[in-house]
């Protein structure tokens, strides 16, 4: 049991300038389940893809079953005994269970596939994972949970010794999740080393022998202590955040902070300043709960500056914000909010997979929607934007009913959306930065039928300055920008003077965005709300982001708003508990 089946040492990987993985260590002995946590963009998927051979790490090594690799290709990864079950399963719907299990490693006899042998072997494997389906069943007809088990059976057929499960319960029902947990426990006793990626602390509590939390590509927290109680985990993981309050972009000084990151490319020394806008980011290295083992990466350059920032109040004072200041910066302008002139009012809105939900977002107010992936946040945003059809309910903007059937109609009404999937839904990768920013508003910039070169350039320059685009080069293709600056391009579309944005909807506004750019995006959004009185509604699965950006937060689960946090109650811990303490049943 002491044989380390998976050892990762000093793994680093950069994309462009952004470090997706920075000196990450991870050890999973045989017969253990290691939970891997972290927000979107923390580096979990990069780590998994390095393991699976999709990415070649820049530095570090991966050791599987005693053999070290500086890099793996997909075939080597499989041969080494690594099996990865991705969220989007790689089973072939039109084939049978047995055919799927032996895909690419068919049992051959007399030059043809030996179906009977495959089906016999498959039956054994299926029994081992208690899949409850037959070798001859078509995979396309199976429920999600069983398909996943088929894929695990496939991994076992390849004699995998390291099993990586990437948010395996995200698409499963409650019963299926329980069944999967039981299988994971079985596989652990069978001696597999299991990496279990999840957002759910309840799963960590039930399954994990060790926990690693990634943040911004580094190991942020690591513990091998057994018997994690959920409560303990929340406080432990959040303990690091009990220092200074997170940034409040809405209040004075935000601008000064926002400019901090502008020289973040200068070198590692500037890193503390770069993240200086975020007290929460730094504070994690500050006073900690004694249970926390400092990660190996904490001695990296840039960290030493942090202790000087440590904040008077100790880790025990969890409701850490001064209520008075909270009131000041939470409700941006209480008078305006209660003046009976709300920006966006949503009543009984329902559509496929969500609702009914009701809430409002006042002019100049920033409201977050916190919930896990699949909780319906994206659907709510897309319905407000006319991307999806509503089945019931009403939406009013400034007192007037709006029912956009298409995004173009929503935009005409002043509702804009920054979608979550930047590459698929937001960016025109091969077009220039200027085109990316100006495309929706080109008509309004044109003189007659022809484009006005000067007006376009002027508008682009203004937008680039407003969102701190770097480099601010109009002709550079969007694909050449970093993730954070790409997001600024998409956001810049609606910061444009010509686009009258009354309501700005943002879906995971800083997914895959580096720390510095993240602060700048918060500053831009906060500026829109404060100066242009834009009503902002954003969805996020990152509690830190919600606390940093939102004046008020709706808790979303199973397609409904199950709670609301505002003022002093709006803390990362409260957000985590709100979601994790209300599983399947939902409505609280």
């Amino acid at each position: 049991m002491t044989v380390a089946n998976l050892r990762i040492r000093g793994l680093s990987k950069s994309f462009g300038g952004a470090k997706a993985l920075d000196n990450v260590d991870l050890t999973v002995p045989a017969g253990q389940v290691h939970a891997l946590l972290g927000h979107n963009g923390a580096g979990k998927s990069t780590l998994i893809k390095c393991l699976g051979g999709a990415f070649a790490p820049d530095a570090g090594m991966i050791e599987v079953g005693g053999t070290s690799y500086a890099r793996l290709n997909p075939r080597e990864s499989i041969a080494a005994g690594v099996a990865i079950i991705f969220q989007t399963l790689s089973v072939v719907d039109s084939l049978t269970v047995a055919e799927n299990i032996f895909l690419g490693q068919e049992r051959i006899r007399y030059g043809a596939v030996n179906r009977r042998a495959q089906e016999t072997l498959a039956a054994g494997l299926l029994e081992r994972v208690a899949a409850g389906c037959a070798p001859r069943d078509r995979v396309g007809g199976l429920p999600m949970g069983q398909r996943q088990l088929v894929e695990i059976a496939k991994a076992l057929s390849r004699n995998a010794s390291v099993l990586v499960l990437d948010e395996p319960t995200a698409a499963l029902s409650g019963a299926e999740s329980d069944a999967l947990a039981a299988r994971v426990e079985d596989l652990r006793t069978q001696g597999l080393a299991i990496v279990y990626v999840t957002h759910l602390l309840s799963e960590v509590e039930r399954l994990a022998d060790a926990v690693t939390v990634l943040r911004d590509g580094r190991v942020d927290y690591h513990s091998t202590a057994s018997g994690h109680s959920r409560r303990q985990l929340v406080t432990t993981i959040m303990g690091r955040a009990s220092g200074s309050p997170p940034p409040r972009p809405g209040r004075a000084g935000a601008t000064e902070r926002g400019h901090g990151p502008s020289d973040d490319s200068a070198g590692p020394q500037s890193r503390p300043e770069a993240s200086g806008g975020s007290g929460a980011l730094d504070a994690r290295s500050g006073p900690r709960n004694s249970e926390v083992t400092p990660p190996a990466g904490s001695s990296a350059p840039g960290r030493p500056a942090v202790p000087s920032r440590s904040v008077p109040d100790g880790p025990s004072s969890v409701p850490h914000r001064d209520p008075a200041s909270v009131v000041d910066d939470k409700a941006p302008d209480p008078a305006a909010a209660t003046a009976g002139h709300p920006g966006l009012t949503v009543e009984g809105l329902a559509g496929a997979g969500f609702g009914p939900v009701g809430f409002d977002v006042a002019e100049g107010e920033i409201v977050g929607m916190y919930g896990l992936i699949g909780s319906g946040r994206t659907r709510i945003l897309e319905t407000l934007f006319g991307r999806r059809h509503k089945s019931a309910g009403s939406v009013r903007l400034g007192g007037r009913a709006v029912a956009p059937a298409r995004p173009a109609e929503a935009l005409a009404a002043g509702i804009a959306l920054v979608p979550a999937d930047r590459r698929a839904q937001g960016l025109f990768a091969t077009l220039t930065a200027q085109d990316n920013v100006l495309l929706p508003g080109l008509r309004s910039l044109a003189r007659g039928v022809l484009r006005s070169v000067r007006a376009e350039r002027r508008t682009f320059d203004a937008v680039a300055a407003a969102v701190s685009l770097r480099p601010a080069r109009p002709k550079l293709p969007a694909a050449a920008y970093s993730g954070g600056n790409q997001q600024k391009l998409v956001l810049g579309r609606w910061v444009n003077e010509r686009s009258r944005t009354n309501v700005l909807l943002l879906d995971e506004p800083t997914q895959g965005v580096d720390v510095g750019a993240r602060q700048e995006i918060y500053r831009v959004v906060a500026g829109l709300a404060a100066e242009k009185r834009t009503a902002v509604l954003f969805a996020s699965s990152d509690p830190e982001e919600v606390v940093a950006l939102a004046h008020r937060c709706l808790i979303v689960a199973r397609g409904r708003v199950i709670g609301e946090l505002a003022g002093a109650q709006l803390t990362e811990e409260a957000l985590l508990s709100a979601v994790h303490d209300t599983p399947a049943e939902g409505a609280a």
């Binding site: 934007f385 991307r387 298409r406 995004p407 173009a408 929503a410 935009l411 005409a412 959306l417 979608p419 698929a424 839904q425 937001g426 960016l427 025109f428 990768a429 091969t430 077009l431 220039t432 085109d435 495309l439 929706p440 080109l442 008509r443 910039l445 044109a446 039928v449 022809l450 484009r451 080069r473 002709k475 550079l476 293709p477 694909a479 050449a480 579309r493």
Partner: protein
């Protein structure tokens, strides 16, 4: 040699700064210009008559009919769609125009407009199926290629001819010494280039081709623009059909425009338009059209048999694609 270094030296410090296409000269962006120039040189040296005015007029008239369809087709491809049916649309449109002018005795203007309407109708069917119903453009227009040819043969089982002197004007007239088809083609090229480069709609064409979902979410009308391009492409094919009918004073439902769709598409792709959509230029397409026209003409002058000409066309397309893929512009 010394001039080369002197030429490149001052540009070098600038080029790493300018990662976009701006830093590229016209020649770098369109390597076909060099190939075309070399080819013209070789043909002139080997035939001695390639650059004669009469021969150039012949090339221009040939290239004109290709260009009239290649430009709107290029815009359609840039927006992420495709039209394989233009060869049959050409036949049907030409026959309709000829039938109106000859059999029906209509005025040439009515005849041409009638032909254009038929072509636009075919394009509208393509557009509705592809843009509004979301069917694959490849499949829809491949089907239409066959179906429209069948319709033309059903409606006009016999060859048509004797369209009258008025109708002959379309293909034979000279406007300030330039053949009418060349003038029409020049108008099409200039209009297309201006639309693509100078109007918001032109940018929208690119946006739809690069990322249709993002364009939709940006409020761009992602259906109407390509739909209109289908209609225009159909009308353009019919116009080319009418011009050819006028030049030949005959139209045959079975053979008119057969294979034309592939010639036009070859010209578009040679001109640097990406089949996956989102990139290309009208200037490049013009080069592609001229290249194909010059190649065919030169080889004919040299007495090269047709099958060698076809092979040369095919090789040129594949070589062009390889050049684009392995060439210096490959940034990703």
């Amino acid at each position: 040699m010394s001039t080369t270094t002197a030429d490149t030296a001052p540009r070098t410090p600038q080029s790493p700064r300018v990662l976009g296409t701006r830093g590229l000269t016209t020649v770098q962006r369109h390597p076909l210009t060099i190939v075309l120039a070399l080819m013209v040189l070789v043909f002139q040296l080997s035939t001695g008559s390639f650059l004669d005015a009469a021969n150039l007029r012949g090339i221009a008239t040939d290239a004109a009919t290709t260009a009239i369809v290649a430009v709107p087709l290029a815009l359609l491809v840039i927006s992420g769609y495709l039209d394989l049916s233009v060869g049959s649309t050409l036949a049907l449109g030409g026959l309709a125009a000829g039938w109106l002018a000859g059999t029906q005795g209509q005025s040439p203007a009515v005849a041409v407009l009638g032909g254009l309407a038929v072509g636009a109708a075919v394009g509208a069917v393509n557009g509705i199926l592809c843009c509004y119903l979301g069917l694959s453009a490849f499949i829809v227009t491949l089907g239409m290629l066959t179906a429209v040819r069948g319709l033309a043969q059903q409606l006009f089982p016999l060859p048509l001819s004797d369209f009258g002197t008025g109708f002959a004007w379309l293909g034979g007239a000279r406007i300030a010494g330039v053949a009418a088809p060349v003038v029409i083609a020049a108008l099409v090229v200039v209009t297309g280039a201006m639309f693509l480069a100078l109007t918001p709609g032109g940018r929208h064409v690119f946006a739809i081709g690069v990322n249709r979902e993002a364009a939709y979410l940006s409020g761009i009308n992602t259906r109407r623009i390509p739909f209109l391009l289908f209609v225009i492409t159909g009308a353009a094919a019919a116009l080319t059909g009418a011009i050819r009918a006028s030049v030949l004073d005959s139209a045959v439902s079975g053979t008119s425009g057969a294979g034309f769709e592939l010639t036009v598409l070859t010209a578009v792709l040679l001109g640097g338009v990406a089949l996956s959509g989102g990139s290309g230029s009208v200037f490049g397409v013009l080069l592609g059209v001229l290249f194909l026209g010059a190649l065919q003409n030169g080889l004919t002058l040299l007495g090269v048999p047709t099958f060698w000409q076809l092979m040369a066309q095919g090789v040129a397309l594949v070589a062009g694609a390889a050049l684009a893929y392995f060439g210096p512009r490959r940034t990703r």
